[in-house]
Symmetry: C2
Subunit: 538 residues, 2 copies
Amino acid sequence: MRRWNGWGDEQFNLELPIQGRSFLVDRVGSGSPLSDVSLESVLAKVPETRLLADSTVDKLIDTNTEARVRHARGQSLPDWLAMRSGEFGVFPDGVACPESSLDVQKLLQYAQASDIELIPYGGGTSVAGHINPLASDKPVLTVDMGGMNRLIDLDRESQIATFGAGTPGPLVESQLRAHGYTLGHFPQSFELSTIGGWVASRSSGQQSLRYGRIEQLFAGGRVETLKGTLDLPTIPASSAGPDIREMILGSEGRIGLITEVKVRVSRLPEQESFHVVFFPDWDLARTACRKLVQNRTQLSMLRLSSAVETETQLALAGHPHLISMLEKVLSLRGSAEGKCMMTFGLTGSSRQCASAKQEAKRICSEYNGVYTGTRLGKKWAEKRFTMPYLREALWQMGYAVDTLETATDWDNVDNLLGLMEGSLRDGLQAREKSKNERAHVFTHLSHFYAQGCSIYTTYVFRVADSYEETLARWQHLKNTTSELIVRNRGTISHQHGVGKDHAPFLPVEKGELGMLAIRSLCATFDPEGILNPKTLVE
Amino acid sequence: MRRWNGWGDEQFNLELPIQGRSFLVDRVGSGSPLSDVSLESVLAKVPETRLLADSTVDKLIDTNTEARVRHARGQSLPDWLAMRSGEFGVFPDGVACPESSLDVQKLLQYAQASDIELIPYGGGTSVAGHINPLASDKPVLTVDMGGMNRLIDLDRESQIATFGAGTPGPLVESQLRAHGYTLGHFPQSFELSTIGGWVASRSSGQQSLRYGRIEQLFAGGRVETLKGTLDLPTIPASSAGPDIREMILGSEGRIGLITEVKVRVSRLPEQESFHVVFFPDWDLARTACRKLVQNRTQLSMLRLSSAVETETQLALAGHPHLISMLEKVLSLRGSAEGKCMMTFGLTGSSRQCASAKQEAKRICSEYNGVYTGTRLGKKWAEKRFTMPYLREALWQMGYAVDTLETATDWDNVDNLLGLMEGSLRDGLQAREKSKNERAHVFTHLSHFYAQGCSIYTTYVFRVADSYEETLARWQHLKNTTSELIVRNRGTISHQHGVGKDHAPFLPVEKGELGMLAIRSLCATFDPEGILNPKTLVE
């Protein structure tokens, strides 16, 4: 069963190897965990629902307390702290489970007639507060799209698949695979997040180099709004004015509820493999990545870990034999100290993969990269969706983990990365209450464009002796670093979306007139502001 | 000097070979040309300007009659008929020539204060009426962006170039080439159209397979609006809500005037070549194209001519020796009759080109394609921007030429193409006054996506014995076929934009709520509706 207060399935636990533990103790000190409250104690806190009975929708709505608890929070660190402490603050008044666009229309009519706020809910994997209800005079109804999880149509000639918006990643891929197709969209939340959520939050998958972001995959579909049904026709490309699809992408529930998603799918590839190259230092490694993507080498994924992330990953992975062997080889070639690990993926026909592999190896070796084959790449592929489980293991040891991510142009990558890492590493020391605390901070670049790349920074710090103080530490790091990002040419999010947590920083990025455009768009479709209020736009 | 009443430079004329003429006579009958009026007679018709002197902008504005004539029309067939007959109807009251964003701000303030309509003007190459002034109680000021035509900045690391919005294609490429870069955006209007116009009308270039459409190239920039300056930051990709760039792309002057355009540029490629393959029939040829693009073969361009276009091109090209040799070879392989010509481009590193060439040849041969090398491809490349000049030659012989273009999903390509060709070929016969007239109609597919492709249909018909009747014939063909397109899953334009000519058909494509979104966006930035009125949205 799904964990009610953390990531993924209760049955699945990831063990941190002993070397990993001592590595962390060495970096940030020994952790002492905060105690988790029980589900029962939280259930007892849930207030009466404020929803009144309505025969048109009663069958669709569940006001059971456990359903309301399970839909109250996402997966951000403050969400974890709320769930672990039991201090949820607000619960939705009910959870609706529509099974059709018609059901969703009924829910919208009901919400409008009864002045109820609606929050669309996909996999509940938001790390930016998208699905959290806020305190409100109006009742809040969370709409769980999970009942709409089928492949509705597959056009093999045009390679377009139509899905119910609530279809989670594994069901997207398994239903396509049965016909020989793949979508190829693999965000780290893949196990739980949904195709509708990907569109609503403009997500990006690990193999975006081949398949594109969700913007490139989203071909059209259906959105139910308070003004009626918005049908987005599938057209391969058009110069007929602004693209309405682009207004729905990233709309985060403010325009309407996405009920059907049409996506551009691909035939299952002939081949796929992941390869690892080590570089002697960051400069060479980053330049090699830039050259690969600006050269249009046909890779399907590319990821570059900083020296600290490389060291951390190898330590946490707990393969001492493999590592010592690797270090020996690398030290012979002068790249053991400060080494940076690059992983690249090859996907496609055997000719494409062979040609791209040669080209990638040639470019890497120009920057002194040491190619080590597919052994570590296989491990990455096996564990690609399990990293969130590590957070659970670290939590049990008294460590909080969070990530901040952005994207910026190449000329600004090192500058912004340095500012972010510095702000997170030293930020706790700026506060009197945590002046002796430090965070362990490491970064990878994982989405590459000719123009620039994403920056994905992880930080691990010890929980404080109370939930309140732990949250205050997080809030300090999050706020100061988010402000730095948008003041220094970064986007407030490359792949997590805006939600409620990033909304205060959006106006710096979009500017006054950009915000005017977004606000006017939301107000056009939802003048009363009952759809996912305070999300995207404060 | 630029032609005042047609395409391109007066010095440049394209001769139609004698075989081409007899080919056309055979298809639609012998043409007898309408007589063109002189520039002088048109100048005499231009009314007094209604613009009042204003010291803040007087230096920027030219009310000279010739300037007003030269900015009154684009390049659509009705524009040609207006210019050739002298029946312009409406002229702008003046032409402003700003040289900076500040100048544009002044013009906007002046327009708002004095209730004047503004029409942004790039290269004047619209074939959909974008820049045509309409009869209005308010004075109309056309803003020619041609003074802002410089490369302002080049960031080599991030591969981003900043241009003044009025920079025409040749100046974009020559200024980049001096530094070893290319934009790679080559619409057929390349000689005259501008980078700001490409963004405003969402254009696509002949090598979109490699470089992408303008949507993929447009990284950010500056838009002057009535509400202030909209700065679009360059960010490689983002999940931070709806993308404001996508609202400017295709906005056709309704939101503001684009003054600076930042684009994603590429290093000049190592290699480039164009190759021609003949297929025995349309089905095989179209399927080969679909397979090439769905297989992600790294081509830089792809174009497939229907059997009639293939025959027409070979006839109009006037290389009888080459053709008879070619037909001999093809007939040996069973593909002389009904043959379809495909041209594909290879651009990139020598390894990429070699690998893609092998893959392309393998896929083509699976569909019985006969590879003929680069000879015809070289001719295509040499003549790629001269086709509009052919229109002049045909006009002189009494033939009118126009094109209709769309894009649709693969499963609908043949259906829509058949409807369009039928409607254009037989449409004149439905009118009493032209029941004995037929049009010569042919098509190519020239922009390819995994999901579908563009359909570009050319039609040639004899001019009538008057301008009025010629216009009526065009209007009939245009309206009936445009209606067919949007009623049958096509976009009203894949690469020409909406303008005023396509605006009546946009609501079918976008739907009621799509139009609501676009209208609300325009009204947010221009509540009085003084920016390019009736364009995009009627």
